[in-house]
Structures are given as structure tokens and as C-alpha cells.
């Protein structure tokens, strides 16, 4: 049965609902009508609903308090999205809205029994009660979790939720204005007219601030300001909030509810920031102040004027200011009987509210009881100074106006403030002030002009009203009462920061926006100090809640594919993610692929190998400095293997470098080290040796790399290579040549062998990579050529005992622990890492890289398995595989120097606890340790 909009008023002058666009949505399982422009809360209120949630601790029924984004009483679940601000989120056709954390139902919640024992649930109750015995904490935790607040997310959300996208944008406005009320609009328009690029950010769904729910004159001013903003070319972001201000005026802005993007994080680097958030109305503390039907004057005015909803039938109004007085007029116009006005400026006050699910009456300070279903309070304002305190401002409390003010003179020059946070005045006065602030903001952002004389705003006296003579709720989100704050002070938590942490006041979803001044005032009352000396809690970013999705942004990890990737995909390659690269791990049979290289010929895609083109007369100096071995006498056409260490002697990268011409070298690095080695090379050239003439160009992705390996590799290459004599004498091991392959000119051919076989590495201009790959397969069919994946390459290199930096070494492995004794030339004058390597060699105590042979050849110990000798840990297995060539397991291991001699018996402790005897081998290489095959 569809509900009726029994509390919907006739058309209001400032209403934001579209009565032409009516639809239905669901609340708590029932169908409700709504108009476009309604919030969830306004649509439900129009149908007479008053209870939207249960409170955090005592599960008391809660209704609307502020009817804005900060409303703590209307946080709901929408579909799979938890913690939706129901008084802010616009309702949509078919929306599935449910109350959060009520059981068994919103109307009857068993956890409300908490309140019956509330005198046993004082501040610190959980800390005090569940601390002992400690072993029971897991049990306590399971039970207490059920009492925690919040919505639910499904681990398997429906498709449309999974497709919900998030986004990041970088913006560089000259002037960023936080807050789109009259002051923000005037500042933005003034700055834009002065030539600045302006971004104006407003939390609500439309510009205007309090003018939107104001009277006829307010609405007329609103139209003027909106026209002004529209005409001045300001970029307006509505339903958006400035979350925080960071160094050098970086503002984080969350933009919500766009058609395809759920939330977007705008990182706005503003030259000047204008803070114009307006004022937030403050609740009053008294017994029953959280009963549905007690609401702030701004909430009543919003419901009536924006959404044409009648918030009650018979009202009592507690007013201390003009906004409260204006509310009386609004209520009467909406046909609500105003039973009593308690004017706080003339001693009027309320003591308590009667009723539980809704207000039934109010007790006044003179003892009278008045029946009503609505109590509207207008007792003062809180200045949301977050963005200013983040800029270093220390606000001061002014008892005449009963609120905090910023010290505008202490702000950095690139932060200004306008509107109600700075002072009071008529709308015209505030607009004139903001206009001057906007012009000054544009000037400080670099626009021409004389410094603008910003007028002072006056300060309007306001009575200090925080708590009636009864106790009530201070923090509506955390269910913290004024009595609990007094208890906290009695127990010694007498500073605002301590009392906050002890009671959790200001730590809930409203984050102090409604309650922080009341918290400070009640602590001041309890300690007998004035508010100005009580201190405040610290307001930190984010100012408003932001989803993790928005912070993460769109998923956009860059991915690199080799030019041969389509072939791999088309031939069943298993994907291997290696850093940014997607590589073919194997094509279904890694052992067979490895055997093909040992027995016939295979081709391996090695495109991700890092490549740096080095040119200039000082390249040998550079190589001598960065590699641990000697490089001065590398002849043209020769290739050498080199290892780089960091200044602490730890092995950093390895690869081969060849001399292609008199002053031209090509350096290769590990795939994962391509970027860092380039940075490393540049750092030494730019900072230590700027006089060296070396030019570095990264060419990793300019070439596709194909390793042609196996005894038939020379024969296969002979069929496709031109301009290069492949005869063993003409092109021996560790030489490099340039030539053409399969008709592609400009290829580099290296005779090197990571696999331990006769092999050639081809560097082919990238766009021809796939062509050359295919040509090799076509030309070598009779030779048994096949594509070989990375896993087979890893097997082959392990059989050959070749080191993989980062696999057989770690962040502490210095050069002499990586089997590089024969390579490191300590007799060189200097190289990076030499100093520490000298000391490492002198000490002779560091671990060694060795080959390890399990005595049971059928067992392949898992990589990372511990090594033990004499009951002590003495190392670990760094690499292990089943060798298809030798038909047994093979390993490399880091072992303590005392256990590193060939023939030493070591025990491998497998992850399952089994002990596996093993022996240190003569060589790192298990296959062809003499290197006859790769020199063939």
C-alpha cells in the first residue's frame, strides 16, 4: 500500500521539489511517494514518518535534527551503500532505503534495553568492564561487535554497485571558494570579475546557503547572486565539499553524485583559498532533546520552505535570535499552531521534553507544561573553522556572540575568510564584505590591482545558551550525554581533548560540527573555567566523510605488453605479471619448453629487459664507476657482463653492456630495474660527475627482444639474418653485431647466454617484433623451434647457476655473497660500493651463494626453505626447480660462510617441518659448469 503525503504543504515560493515529476521508492520494505528534489528524509517526512534510526548506544528512536548533510538522526542504508546521509541524499525512483543497525525492527529495537541499564553504561564503561580477564577479550569482542553501529556492505555486491566508478581530477584554480552561500557566491563572482579562474564549492545541491530557505527578500537576493555567479564564469561544484587544506594550498574536494561517477576527488591547487562555510546551527542540551520532534530552527525552515513539508501540528519555539523569530512566521504560514514561544533573550527556557517515539509536550522553565508535537530550538551557531585551523589559525571564543572567531590577521596570505565565520551583519553587509574579500583573493592570486580595503564585520550579541538545567544528549551520533561529560571531568579527564577521547564525544559521524562547542561549554561548566580557557578539540581533515573509492580514484595501473603479446595470447600463454609487464609464463609445458632449448632451439620474448643507449667519450668512466668489474678496455663489438652495487655494497642490478661504436654503448638491465637503473645512472652523471660527457637515452620499449637459444640457434638465425657473419670465429661468445633480421634493418644481435646454451639475443625495432618472432617460427619448423616462456627460462638459468638479482640476493646481500668473487675488481681505484666490499672481503664472515643438491633428488625444496646445520639456522634456499635436463631437483642457496665449502652436508627444513639432507655442490651451475655449450 502506497503511503499518502499527508504532511505535504501547498506550493512554497522557494521549494526545490518538482511536483511534475512524482515517483515511488521504498523505505523499510514499504512503498512511498516522492517528488524529484526531495531528500530521502523530506519524502518520508511528507508522509508523516518521524523516526529514521536508532541511536548509537541506547538505541533510542531518532528523527530529524538538522535536516541537512550533518543530520545524525537520518543515516540510512541505500541498496548496498551504507551510511548514506538521508537528509542530504536526493531520493531516486525505485531507491531501496532501509534503516541501519536496528533489530528486529526500527519500531521495536531490543537493544533499546541498553537504556534501562544506562546508569551501568557510563563513560568508559567498556574500558572498565571488559578489560579483565584478558583471555576473554575475543569473546567480549564478538558480542560487542553486534552492538556497533553502521550499515552493511555485501561482499558480493550487485552488478550496478560494482560498476559504480570513482574518479580523480587535478584542478588549478586561481581562487577556490569553500562554501556557496551568499558570502561564497559574492566572493567567487568578485574574484572572477577581477580576472581570476574561480572554483566555487557548495555542499548542498544548489547555491544559496540560508537564503534558500529564507523569506521573499532573501529569495530575491539569491536570484541576483545566482545570476551574478552564472554571468561571471565561475566553475560551480555543488553537492561537493572541501575536505581539507594541505601544504601550499592544495585543497581536497570531494564531488558527489554525478551521473556516471559516484564520487570524484578533486585535487585543487589554489593560489588563494576563500573560506566561507557559513554557520552551523547548534543544538540545545536538555532532557529529551533527542526525541523525534525536537529540531533546529534551520531544520524546520528547510522542511517548510525547501520541501513543502509540515514538520508538526502544534509547536513550541525556543528562540534566541532572528532566525528563530523567522521560523515562527514560517510555522504559522505552514498552518502549524505555535502554542508557545520561549524567548531566551527574555529569560524563556525549556526544561524537558515528554514523549519517547515523538514529542508529546514540553516543560518550561516556569513549570508550565505545554502539549505539542514539535519543539523548535534556535539557540545559536557554531562556526565551522576547520579549513582555517588547518591553515594555522587558532580561533578564540567570544562570549558576547557565543561562538568562536578566527584571528583573520594570523592567516597565511593565501587564505582568506568571508561570511558568518568572520562576523555578523545583514545579507547586504555580508555580501559587500565578501565582494571585497573576493577581489583581494584575485589580487593575491596574481591579478593586477591595488590591495583591497576589506571592511570589518560587526559582531552581533547573542546569549550564551548551551544547556538547560536538565541533562541531555550532547553528541547525538555517539549518544554521549552532558552527565557523562561531567563524570569524565570528575574522573580527571578535564581537558577537552581528554574528555573527547574518554567519552568519544565529537568522534561520531557529525565530527564535532553540531556538538563541539557544547562539549567545551559543559567541560567549562564542570571545571569552573571560562570557555575561552577550556580549549577546543582539534578539527582535522576530512571535513566531511569521503569514500575510500574516491580516495583510491579510478583504477589505472599502467600495463606494458611486448609487441609479441598478441601471439602469446593466441597460443595459450599463461600470463605472468612482472612489475608493469604482462609476460608469457609458459605455453602449457615449461619442462618441455626447457628441453627444447637444451636439445633443439627455442625463442623467448625478452622485451622487458631494460635498455639504455649510452653515448659519449666518457661512457667507459661511467661503466667503471657503476659496475664492480673493469670496463676501460672494452673493444668495439664486444660485450661484457656487469654487476652494480649500491654504496653499501649490496647487489643492485646486473646485465650486459656492449660497445656498438667508438662512443656508443648499449646497456641492458634487469626487467624490474629498467627505471631505477636509469635514475641511478642519471644521479651519478648529474650530481657527482657533471663534467662527464655522456648522454643517456632509455630505449627499453624501442626494441622488442627475442632470445634465440639452443644448439640449433645459429642454424636458425642463418636463415633469417643478413649482413652478419654468424660463423663461430667471426661472431664469438660475448660479442655484439648490428644487422638485419627477416628483412628488418637496424637490429642488434648479442651472442650471450642466460640459458647456458648457444644463444643470440636479438633487439628488433619494436614495431617489427611480431614479424621477426613469426619469421623465426616459420623458418625453423624443421629444426623443432618453439616458443619458450619465462618459467622455462628460469629453469634453464638455474641449471646454469646464473644469479637473479632480488631472487638469489636480497636487500642485505653484498657483492661477495652473490658468487661474484671473480668479477669484483677491488684493484680498481673507485667504483660504487667498493668501500664496503673491501671491508666485506676483509671480514670474510658474510654468507655465500652456493649450489645445493638434495640427497633425495626427487624432492624440490620450496624456495625460502630454511637451512640448518648443527641445530642452528645457517641459510635459506633462494631458488629451486625440478631440472628436466638432469631429471633431479636443483637449488641455489645462501649459506653461512662456515657451511659454504663444496661437499658440506646441510639439512633443509621444509615448510611442513620435514628435514631433507643436502650437499653443497662444487659449482653454482648444475649443467655444463665449464661453459662449453654456450661457447659452441
Amino acid at each position: 500500500m502506497t503511503r499518502q503525503q499527508v504532511r505535504r504543504l501547498d506550493s512554497q515560493p522557494g521549494e526545490v521539489i518538482d511536483r511534475e515529476c512524482a515517483f515511488e521508492f521504498s523505505w523499510n520494505g514499504s512503498t512511498y511517494p516522492a517528488y524529484a528534489g526531495d531528500t530521502i528524509a523530506s519524502a518520508l517526512s511528507a508522509c508523516g514518518e518521524r523516526v529514521f534510526s536508532r541511536s548509537f548506544k541506547y538505541h533510542r528512536p531518532r528523527g530529524l535534527l538538522t535536516a541537512s548533510h550533518t543530520d545524525p538522526g537520518c543515516i540510512v542504508q541505500v541498496g548496498d551503500e551504507p551510511n548514506v546521509r538521508g537528509a542530504h541524499r536526493l531520493v531516486e525512483p525505485g531507491m531501496d532505503v532501509r534503516p541501519q543497525d536496528t533489530w528486529p525492527s526500527l519500531a521495536f529495537d531490543v537493544k533499546a534495553a541498553n537504556e534501562l541499564v544506562s546508569r551501568f553504561l557510563p563513560a568508559g564503561f567498556y574500558y572498565k568492564t571488559f578489560i579483565r580477564p584478558r583471555r576473554l577479550w575475543p569473546t567480549y569482542e564478538r558480542v560487542l561487535r553486534r552492538f556497533s553501529h553502521g550499515g552493511v556492505i555485501s561482499p558480493d555486491p550487485p552488478a550496478q554497485e560494482r560498476l559504480r566508478s570513482y574518479d580523480t581530477r587535478h584542478a588549478h584554480p586561481d581562487v577556490l571558494v569553500a562554501g556557496g552561500g551568499p558570502a561564497g557566491m559574492a566572493s567567487a563572482a568578485a574574484a572572477a570579475r577581477a580576472g581570476a579562474a574561480v572554483m566555487l564549492v557548495e555542499e548542498e545541491h544548489a547555491l544559496g546557503g540560508h537564503l534558500r530557505w529564507g523569506d521573499k527578500a532573501d529569495l530575491a537576493t539569491l536570484r541576483e547572486l545566482r545570476d551574478l555567479v552564472a554571468a561571471s564564469g565561475v566553475e560551480v561544484l555543488t553537492n561537493s565539499v572541501v575536505l581539507g587544506r594541505y601544504d601550499h594550498n592544495l585543497a581536497a574536494v570531494v564531488q558527489r553524485g554525478m551521473p556516471r561517477v559516484h564520487e570524484r576527488l578533486v585535487k585543487a591547487r589554489a593560489k588563494t583559498l576563500v573560506v566561507a562555510p557559513g554557520l552551523i546551527e547548534r543544538p540545545y542540551v536538555f532532557a529529551g532533546n533527542d526525541v523525534p520532534g525536537v529540531m533546529l530552527s534551520s531544520a524546520a525552515r528547510r522542511l517548510i520552505n525547501l520541501h513543502a513539508v509540515k514538520p508538526g501540528d502544534r509547536a513550541v519555539v525556543l528562540t534566541a535570535n532572528a532566525q528563530g523569530d523567522a521560523t515562527i512566521a514560517d510555522l504559522e504560514r505552514a498552518g502549524i499552531e505555535v502554542a508557545h514561544v520561549a524567548d531566551a533573550r527574555r529569560g524563556g527556557d525549556v526544561v524537558r521534553v515528554f514523549g519517547r517515539g515523538c514529542v508529546r509536550g514540553v516543560e518550561l522553565v516556569d513549570g508550565r507544561r505545554i502539549a505539542c508535537d514539535l519543539l523548535v530550538t534556535a539557540v545559536g551557531w557554531t562556526a565551522p573553522l576547520t579549513l582555517l585551523t588547518m591553515a594555522g589559525d587558532v580561533p578564540a571564543y567570544d562570549s558576547r556572540a557565543a561562538r568562536y572567531f578566527p584571528d583573520v590577521s594570523s592567516l597565511p596570505s593565501d587564505v582568506l575568510a568571508a561570511g558568518g565565520v568572520v562576523g555578523d551583519g545583514s545579507v547586504d553587509e555580508l555580501v559587500a564584505h565578501a565582494d571585497a574579500v573576493g577581489r583581494e583573493a584575485a589580487r593575491r592570486a596574481g591579478r593586477a590591482g591595488e590591495p583591497v580595503d576589506v571592511p570589518d564585520l560587526r559582531l552581533e550579541p547573542h546569549p550564551e545558551l548551551f544547556r538547560a538545567r536538565t541533562h541531555g544528549i550532547v553528541d547525538f551520533s555517539e549518544d554521549v550525554s552532558s552527565k557523562e561529560l561531567l563524570t569524565a571531568v570528575e574522573e580527571g579527564y578535564s581537558s577537552a581533548e581528554l574528555a573527547k577521547r574518554y567519552t568519544t564525544a565529537t568522534m561520531g559521524p557529525t565530527q564535532g560540527k553540531l556538538e563541539s562547542v557544547n562539549v567545551v561549554a559543559i567541560i567549562a561548566e564542570a571545571t569552573g573555567r571560562p570557555i575561552s580557557q577550556t580549549g577546543t578539540t582539534t578539527w582535522r581533515p576530512p571535513y566531511a566523510p569521503v569514500t575510500l573509492g574516491a580516495l583510491a580514484g579510478r583504477h589505472r595501473d599502467p600495463v606494458r605488453y611486448s609487441p609479441m603479446h598478441p601471439w602469446h595470447e593466441g597460443h595459450g600463454a599463461a600470463r605472468l605479471v612482472a612489475g608493469a609487464w604482462i609476460r608469457p609464463d609458459h605455453y602449457g609445458d615449461p619442462a618441455g619448453e626447457a628441453l627444447a632449448v637444451r636439445e633443439r632451439v627455442g625463442i623467448i620474448d625478452v622485451s622487458p629487459i631494460g635498455k639504455l643507449d649510452l653515448r659519449g667519450p666518457d661512457v667507459p668512466n661511467l661503466l667503471n664507476l657503476l659496475y664492480v668489474n673493469r670496463w676501460s678496455k672494452l673493444a668495439v663489438g664486444r660485450v661484457r657482463y656487469g654487476v652494480m652495487c649500491a654504496e653499501d655494497g649490496v647487489v643492485m642490478d646486473d646485465g650486459v653492456t656492449g660497445r656498438l661504436g667508438a662512443e656508443q654503448y648499449l646497456m641492458s638491465t634487469t626487467s624490474s630495474g629498467a627505471a631505477s637503473v636509469w635514475e641511478w645512472v642519471e644521479s651519478w652523471l648529474q650530481t657527482e660527475h657533471p663534467q662527464w660527457r655522456v648522454h643517456v637515452t632509455p630505449v627499453t620499449t624501442s626494441y622488442a627482444g627475442i632470445n634465440v637459444a639452443g644448439p640449433h640457434s645459429r642454424e636458425l638465425l642463418g636463415r633469417v639474418v643478413a649482413e652478419v657473419d654468424l660463423a663461430p670465429e667471426a661472431f664469438p661468445y660475448m660479442h655484439v653485431r648490428a644487422g638485419s633480421v627477416a628483412g628488418v634493418a637496424g637490429c642488434v644481435l648479442w651472442r650471450i647466454g642466460f640459458t647456458g646454451e648457444l644463444s643470440y639475443e636479438l633487439q628488433v625495432p619494436a614495431s617489427y617484433g611480431l614479424h621477426v618472432w613469426q619469421a623465426l617460427l616459420d623458418a625453423g619448423g624443421d629444426l623443432g623451434v618453439r616458443a619458450v616462456g619465462i618459467e622455462a627460462q628460469r629453469i634453464l638459468r638455474l641449471e646454469k647457476g646464473h644469479l637473479i638479482v632480488g631472487q638469489d640476493t636480497d636487500g642485505l646481500t653484498q657483492g661477495f655473497s652473490a658468487g661474484l668473487d671473480g668479477l669484483i675488481r677491488l684493484d680498481k681505484d673507485d667504483f660504487v660500493g667498493r668501500t664496503e666490499l673491501v671491508w666485506q672481503a676483509e671480514a670474510g664472515t658474510s654468507p655465500r651463494l652456493v649450489g645445493l643438491q638434495p640427497d633425495d633428488p626427487a624432492v624440490v625444496p620450496e624456495e625460502g626453505s630454511q637451512l640448518v646445520a648443527g641445530g642452528r639456522l645457517c641459510g635459506r634456499v633462494t631458488s629451486s626447480r625440478w631440472s628436466p635436463t638432469l631429471r633431479r631437483s636443483i637449488c641455489l642457496a645462501q649459506v653461512a660462510v662456515g657451511q659454504a665449502e663444496p661437499g658440506t652436508a646441510i639439512t633443509v627444513r621444509l615448510p611442513d617441518g620435514r628435514l631433507l639432507p643436502a650437499t653443497v655442490t662444487e659449482h653454482l651451475a648444475a649443467v655444463d659448469p665449464e661453459g662449453a655449450r654456450l661457447r659452441a
Binding site: H248, L250, E682, S683, Q686, D830, W839
Partner: protein, 79 residues
């Protein structure tokens, strides 16, 4: 995220740079004692105030630059 004034590219977000840390001069490897060398490798002053540091404009001109930065206020100047 602070701004750094790259002499080649202008004022840029620090996210474009990689941080090289406090500037620590490399001692002469022929004469350095272990103490001096390990000071160079591992010890930094980590002052709250003005410090000289190295940054690399990784996402920009790819030049190393030396800047003076106040670690408290994030004011940045040329060295």
C-alpha cells in the same frame, strides 16, 4: 603535497618528484674511515627546520635538483 620550484619546469607538485633525502656529500673513498663512510650511508640530521635536500624530477625534466626546505613550514628556496 607540497610544491617544488623546478628550475626547468616551474612550480610542480612534489608527487612528480622522487625524494633523494638530505644532501650528504660523498666522502673520498680512498681516505674515508668506516665511521665517515657509514655516516654518509646511514646517518641524517633530520632537523626540524631548514635542511638541504635532493629531489629528482622523475615525471618531468628528469633533472636532479638541490633545494633548501624548511621541514616545519615547507617553505622552499634555492640552495
Amino acid at each position: 603535497m607540497i610544491l617544488l620550484p623546478c628550475p626547468w619546469c616551474g612550480s610542480r607538485d612534489a608527487g612528480e618528484f622522487s625524494y633523494g633525502g638530505e644532501l650528504t656529500p660523498r666522502p673520498d673513498p680512498r681516505t674515508a674511515t668506516r665511521e665517515q663512510w657509514r655516516d654518509y650511508l646511514y646517518l641524517r640530521d633530520n632537523v626540524a627546520g631548514w635542511t638541504t635536500e635532493r629531489w629528482y624530477h622523475r615525471m618531468g625534466c628528469r633533472r636532479y635538483l638541490t633545494v633548501r626546505r624548511n621541514t616545519v613550514t615547507n617553505e622552499v628556496t634555492a640552495p
